[in-house]
């Protein structure tokens, strides 16, 4: 494992009005690593990713990506720096076709040929999308939309990919596929920060993992260790 860090979050504080969503959260993703983040509803997982993306403002702390301080940077600059976020709830452009949705993923990629190549690869990865390339995103089934959301992020060929609950609403087989895809992407050198409710699936592919509770890291360690930690098993995996 390389020593350089793709992402370092230190002592992050975020609040929504009166609600303190993150309080002193710190975590890091090494280059080439898959890091899983687990946590209850409302623990602050989504907020963490959104703050890295620059969509939510931090009131304290620092976010560093590939050695550069990106705290409260402009979202487009952050995407430009190679950090791509597959948001919670998929956020497909409902009136754009599947194909156009994928093109949007390559918004900051100047090279048309590269976009075309990567789009083809996404269609190979998710043949269902290939069949539906003309269909409007909003009319896809829940699972199809999730595939599209992941596919869209792939077009940008990010250096760091952050996924927020990518397995939500997916059939078991597809969960397996998606996890496989994430692993595969990772193997091409992309670092991954993976937020999941499906802890079992996430821990299976992750190198390390964090458990977040009420806006701060409660547990962290190697994925394999956490998968057998009794606290994690009780709360997130079940017997």
């Amino acid at each position: 494992m390389s020593t350089a860090n793709a992402l370092v979050i230190s002592d992050l504080n975020v609040r929504y009005g009166h609600v303190q969503a993150l309080s002193g959260l710190s975590l890091s993703v090494g280059e080439g690593e898959i890091v899983a983040v687990l946590g209850n509803n409302g623990a602050g997982k989504t907020t963490t990713l959104a703050t890295v993306s620059g969509v939510v403002r931090a009131v304290g702390g620092r976010v560093t990506a590939f050695g550069k301080d990106i705290t409260n940077g402009k979202p487009w600059d952050i995407v430009g720096a190679g950090i791509v976020h597959v948001p919670e709830g998929r956020r497909i452009f409902s009136r754009l076709s599947v194909h156009e949705n994928l093109q949007m993923g390559g918004y900051l990629v100047g090279d048309r040929a590269a976009i075309a190549r990567r789009t083809r690869r996404v269609y190979e990865l998710f043949p269902r999308l290939g069949e539906r390339r003309k269909q409007e995103g909003g009319t896809l089934s829940g699972g199809e939309q999730q595939m599209l959301a992941v596919g869209r992020a792939l077009i940008a060929e990010p250096r760091l990919m952050m996924l927020d609950e990518p397995s939500m609403g997916l059939a078991p087989l597809v969960v397996k596929d998606i996890m496989g895809v994430i692993k595969a992407i990772n193997e091409t050198g992309t670092s991954v920060l993976l937020v999941e409710q499906n802890a079992r699936a996430a821990l299976a592919i992750a190198d390390r993992a964090y458990v977040i509770e009420t806006g701060t890291v409660a547990l962290s360690g190697r994925a394999a260790d956490l998968a057998t930690d009794s606290r994690v098993v009780d709360a997130y995996l079940g017997a």
């Binding site: 269902r128 609403g169 078991p172 997130y236």
Partner: protein, 260 residues
């Protein structure tokens, strides 16, 4: 071909096409009183679409839906609801700006006995109706275990609580048949367990439940019967144990791992 009397819902040869896409393609199944039936299948198999037909949101392009012995094919959603079909949505559809209590009162729209002038004149019937609605709303919220402030706006509730409110809202109508579309999505392990208990309780009330779900743990635990769809058609049906062993299901949906 006549349906046995006990069948609450009979779906026969249901078809729904969007342009070229055949979302539902000759689906048939039936739900008995007190049944907990799970509908599973790959993404895009047509599960939600079938629900939408049954609850009246889509007009089927073919086939027949019989509820309580009556042909209800193609009726509008409110008519379906009036006949006793309640549903929840795959993506939460709470009335976010309104209070939790109001959300549940929405479910009681058909039950509250109140006329136009009752509200204006504040008649005793109005007061009685309102009090009863509040009381029932609390009852159902207790039933599903909502612990948050019920006077608060629904959107300010945690996700899991919102899921429960949505179920309470659907129950408040006093349905004969409850359609739940992926109620466990986004819930964590503990919450899923709680949901499991809730589903059983609903079954105990004598309300038939049809459940779309991708979480096999939940499906296997709670369902009496399972119907498996692919490409808008049934590819298998039976008890959870039977379905889980069915090679077609394993291949199309579960994968070798889940089946074991």
């Amino acid at each position: 071909m006549t349906a046995p009397v006990e069948a609450l819902l009979v779906v026969e040869d249901l078809r729904l096409a969007f342009g070229g896409v055949k979302a539902v393609d000759g689906l048939g199944f039936r739900v008995m009183d007190g049944d907990i039936l799970s509908v599973i299948g790959p993404n895009g198999a047509g599960k939600t679409s079938a629900f939408n037909c049954i609850s009246g949101f889509y007009k089927p392009t073919g086939g027949r839906i019989t509820f309580l012995g009556q042909n209800v094919t193609g009726m509008r959603p409110s008519a379906m609801a009036a006949r006793g079909i309640s549903r929840t949505f795959q993506n939460l559809r709470l009335f976010g700006d309104l209070t939790v209590l109001d959300n549940v009162r929405a479910g009681m729209h058909l039950v509250i006995d109140q006329r136009f002038f009752d509200a204006i004149l504040r008649t005793p019937r109005y007061r009685r109706g309102e009090d009863e609605a509040t009381e029932k709303a609390h009852y159902w919220l207790d039933f599903v275990g909502v612990t948050a402030n019920r006077g608060a706006q629904a959107r300010n509730l945690p996700y899991g609580e919102q899921r429960r409110v949505e179920i309470a809202r659907a129950l408040a109508r006093g349905p004969r048949l409850l359609l739940l579309d992926e109620p466990a999505a986004g819930l964590n392990h503990t919450e899923k367990n709680q949901l499991l208990g809730l589903l059983r309780c609903i079954g105990d009330l004598g309300i038939a439940v049809v459940l779309i779900e991708h979480d096999m743990g939940l499906v296997m635990e709670v369902s009496h019967r399972v119907v498996v769809l692919n490409f808008g058609r049934e590819i298998a049906a039976g008890s959870p144990a039977e379905v889980r062993r069915d090679p077609a299901v394993v291949e199309a949906y579960l994968g070798a791992e889940e089946a074991s």
